[in-house]
């Protein structure tokens, strides 16, 4: 299918939000960029299935999300990905300027179950309505609402309860690193 100039611009304009979503979802910049590229290619080869006048971004996010999940399932069979590695990768992202509390936030986000993280990112950061997020994820609106609520509560709990066992070592390491600077 033909990418018309308008469409090319629209796709290019969607890239930053697709990347932000993919990076937050996968915790890995390289993998996220591959996901975005695959999303664009798939979108272009399926343009006939896009209904003009509907939300292009929502359509692109749906493609990206489905690619992510099929790849995730595949990878999971190959290598068991321990929960902590996502946090480690996210922290290695090239954003040196960020504040420490954002780093805490990233760590907390990384500990969320993937379906909750995804729902929160779509509704809380990407600007989709609950209805759009539900259609992107292929689930009921109530399910999205519930996941977003759970995600928020969990984040609040892990950002707040500093002496929780699973956050303890990280905080101590960071404190040690900071005091040694």
């Amino acid at each position: 299918m033909t990418p018309e100039p308008d469409l090319r611009d629209a796709l290019l304009a969607a890239v930053p939000s697709l990347r932000a979503f993919a990076i937050s979802l996968s915790g890995h910049v390289d993998r996220a960029d591959d996901l975005v590229q695959d999303t664009l290619l798939r979108a272009l080869s399926n343009l006939h299935r896009f209904e003009p006048g509907t939300n292009l971004n929502a359509w692109l996010f749906t493609i990206l999300r489905n690619l992510f999940h099929s790849e995730y399932r595949k990878r999971r069979r190959e290598v068991e990905d321990p929960d902590g590695s996502y946090a480690g990768r996210l922290k290695a992202l090239p954003e040196q300027g960020s504040h420490l509390d954002l780093e805490d936030f990233r760590t907390a986000l990384a500990t969320l179950p993937p379906d909750q993280r995804e729902a929160l990112l779509l509704v809380g950061a990407s600007g989709f309505s609950y209805e759009e997020a539900a259609s992107i994820c292929g689930c009921a609106v109530g399910t999205i609402k519930s996941r977003v609520n759970r995600a928020r509560s969990r984040l609040a709990a892990s950002l707040d309860v500093g002496d929780a066992e699973d956050l303890g070592p990280d905080r101590m390491t960071r404190a040690a690193l900071q005091s040694s600077v």
């Binding site: 290019l12 930053p16 990347r19 960020s98 954002l102 990233r106 986000l109 809380g124 609520n149």
Partner: protein, 76 residues
């Protein structure tokens, strides 16, 4: 009692809920919700502001060019 931990950010829900064993959805107070939302958007904004890697511009330009060539060929 979960309210006794000196939480400054949020009223924490019971641990059992974190494990998904309770059916009811936890509700956060609006201050905590706002703080979580602000941090989420701050993190996201950082990502959004990163420059678009050239590979994406190149990809779309290539496709456009290829398309123009093929439509030109077929028209000749």
């Amino acid at each position: 009692m979960t309210g006794e931990k000196g939480n400054k950010l949020a009223r924490v829900i019971p641990d059992s809920d974190l494990n998904g064993t309770l059916a009811a959805d936890p509700k956060l107070d609006s201050t905590s919700q706002k703080r979580i939302g602000d941090q989420l958007r701050a993190m996201y904004d950082e990502l959004m502001q990163q420059p678009v890697p050239d590979r994406f511009k190149n990809l779309l330009d290539q496709l456009e060019k290829k398309d123009r060539e093929t439509s030109h060929d077929s028209g000749a």
